[in-house]
């Protein structure tokens, strides 16, 4: 089976006010099969969102993208705008973090969803598109769809808004759904509902998904595989189970420590320090200033991503010996 999405050595550079270029994404290889769910996990600034936005050429002006990203074999990097527009919203749907700002506040929700349909199907009338929007609302379990499509975004609750956003992303039955922090702006209970919805959709529609989040707990129950990112690189990559139970990278371990355990007894652990700015990356492994296991080599040399135990890991001193402790 050929992969739905495959990136190779994907790099993104930004320029600051002084005209200095810096790499925000330093060569990322990812692959996703049709119907598969990939979770990309990392703190803000790790490059996880921009990597996905780069695929759709949705980065702000002035970003320089290189490398390769193929969607069903078609190269996305450098694709002409007219062709990438045919993919956006049609074959690849997007769900964003804050549905309140992601919707246009002065247009009715129904019109915004109908637009997503008519943009790709010129023959569809506005009326039919609105009917379709109603059906989509039923799909994502929004009650009273006929009434809801005539409302403005501010008249929706946060959870309902995110459902509507998902409905919009699904409007053209895409093969790939990119969800960028879809639950971050929501209350905890609503978060669970949205995740359930995504899980159901995945089961019913068989869509491939990329789920971007800073919260490993979000991807734990839904992703088939996980890529952990730090400082513009993938630091650990593997199946969800392997990343959780055979954690090799100290950073992943830290993130797992940061997951509140469900029985309520586990204390919330934090990784000390903050992620580095892309204009001021530490030498060697960019995680070394925050790493508890740091040694001399970590400051000197950037580790490569290579197979270590059950997962791929970019670390000079992987933690493969810690399995048992975490599994418990």
């Amino acid at each position: 089976m050929s992969p739905l999405l495959k990136t190779k050595d994907l790099r993104i550079e930004f320029r600051n006010d002084d005209g200095i270029w810096a790499e925000a994404l330093c060569g990322v290889d990812l692959s996703l099969d049709p119907g598969e769910v990939l979770g990309i996990v990392g703190e803000s600034g790790s490059g996880k969102s921009i990597a996905m936005m780069a695929l759709l050429q949705l980065l702000p002006r002035g970003a320089r993208v290189s490398g390769s990203a193929r969607f069903k074999g078609q190269e996305l990097i450098g694709m002409p705008p007219a062709r990438i527009r045919q993919l956006r919203g049609k074959s690849i749907g997007c769900v964003f973090q804050d549905p309140l700002s992601a919707f246009n506040s002065v247009l009715r929700i129904g019109d915004q969803i109908a637009e997503a349909i008519t943009l790709h199907d010129r023959s569809m009338s506005k009326r039919d598109a609105l009917k379709e929007a109603e059906r989509l609302f039923e799909l994502v379990a929004i009650p009273q769809p006929a009434k809801r499509i005539r409302q403005y975004p501010h008249e929706f609750s946060g959870g309902m808004r995110q459902r509507a956003m998902i409905a919009m992303a699904l409007a053209n039955r895409p093969e790939l759904l990119i969800a960028d922090e879809p639950t971050t702006a929501l209350d905890v209970t609503v978060q669970a509902q949205i995740l359930d919805l995504l899980r159901d959709l995945r089961k019913d529609l068989g869509i491939g998904m990329v789920l971007i989040t800073h919260d490993l707990g979000v991807v734990a129950g839904i992703a088939d595989k996980i890529a952990v990112m730090y400082g513009g690189r993938i630091v650990e990559r593997g199946t969800t189970d392997d990343v959780f139970y055979h954690t090799a990278h100290p950073y992943s371990a830290g993130l797992i420590g940061a997951v509140p355990s469900l029985d309520g007894t586990g204390k919330l652990q934090q990784i000390d320090g903050t992620p580095p700015s892309i204009f001021n990356r530490p030498s060697g492994c960019s995680f070394h200033p925050r790493c508890s296991q740091v040694e001399e080599i970590c400051r000197m040399q950037t580790p490569e991503l290579e197979s270590v135990g059950e997962t791929d890991c970019a670390c000079h001193l992987p933690l493969v010996t810690r399995d048992a402790k975490v599994a418990e």
Partner: protein, 288 residues
């Protein structure tokens, strides 16, 4: 979104103080400053320039521009270029004076209003509300006419039109600064209110006022010229830009009479908005 914007918005290195700050001014702002400096230079030196006196009849009447009279001559045979340059001696100092008075009065009242609050605040702010309820030019016309035509009264009228802007600005600033810790500490330490206002509050409040004053300078030149154009400001034969255009308007087939003073006003207004914009962007960015 935070992910995407973070690297781009990464703050530029903040160093180097004054000189470095001003080197970041856009080109347009520097051009604006240069034009304003040119006009100030003109005001100071124009009497020494080797050219005709503005009030002397130096040539035939109503001659179009020529090598001898760069902007032609007016209905009385006076050199329009010389008059335009001398016009700066009227317009620029008056505009400076008007802005200075408006800033002084407005800032003082605004500071009192914001710092003391209560009924003082109420009265001053209602006065502001009523003043800004009038379209500026009509109020200026009414005041200037009632006081009697003339440049002094026109200037008073313009100060009356402009002070409320600075009162509001200063009041807002003072209200914000008043809440800061060092001010509260000073009050708690028993300093007299006036001293707190003068020493601890006001020094932190000037930036928006100065930027606005820069921007308004051109508008004041414009309003002064408008009043003169109407006949409420400078009187002929003084070479004031507005009254020169007014002379040109009665003879508009001889377009060059009005051309020079109009261009002069345009350069001043453009220059101040360039410079004001540049300064505002600069301080906005710095205050972030």
């Amino acid at each position: 979104m935070a992910d995407i914007s973070a690297p781009v918005a990464a703050p530029a290195r903040r160093s180097g103080g004054f000189r470095r700050t001003f080197r970041k001014l856009p080109v347009t702002a520097i051009i604006g400053a240069a034009i304003l400096l040119f006009w100030i230079f003109t005001v100071l030196t124009v009497q020494f320039w080797p050219m005709a006196e503005p009030l002397d009849m130096v040539g035939r009447r109503l001659q179009p521009p020529s090598a001898e009279h760069w902007l032609g001559t007016d209905a009385l045979g006076r050199d329009v270029f010389s008059r335009t340059m001398h016009g700066a001696v009227w317009s620029i100092p008056i505009a400076i004076l008007v802005v200075a008075c408006a800033v002084a009065i407005g800032s003082l009242l605004g500071a009192i209003s914001g710092f003391f609050g209560g009924w003082t605040d109420g009265i001053i702010m209602r006065l502001v509300d009523v003043t800004v309820a009038f379209p500026p030019i009509l109020l200026a016309m009414a005041v200037a006419a009632m006081l009697g035509p003339g440049l002094t009264n026109a200037s008073i009228a313009m100060v009356i039109v402009w002070w409320p802007i600075y009162a509001r600005l200063m009041r807002a600033q003072v209200l914000e600064v008043k809440e800061r810790e060092h001010v509260e500490a000073a009050i708690a330490g028993g300093a007299s209110p006036l001293r707190v206002l003068r020493v601890h509050v006001l020094p932190l409040c000037w930036t928006p006022t100065l930027i606005n004053a820069t921007m308004d300078f051109g508008q004041v030149v414009l309003l002064a010229a408008s009043l003169s154009f109407i006949g409420l400001g400078a009187k002929p034969p003084s070479p004031e830009w507005g009254s020169m255009i007014s002379e040109g308007a009665t003879r508009f087939y001889d377009w060059w009479i009005a051309f020079g003073p109009g261009m002069a006003i345009l350069t001043v207004v453009l220059a101040t908005s360039f410079l004001g914009d540049g300064l505002r962007d600069l301080f906005d960015r710095r205050s972030q």
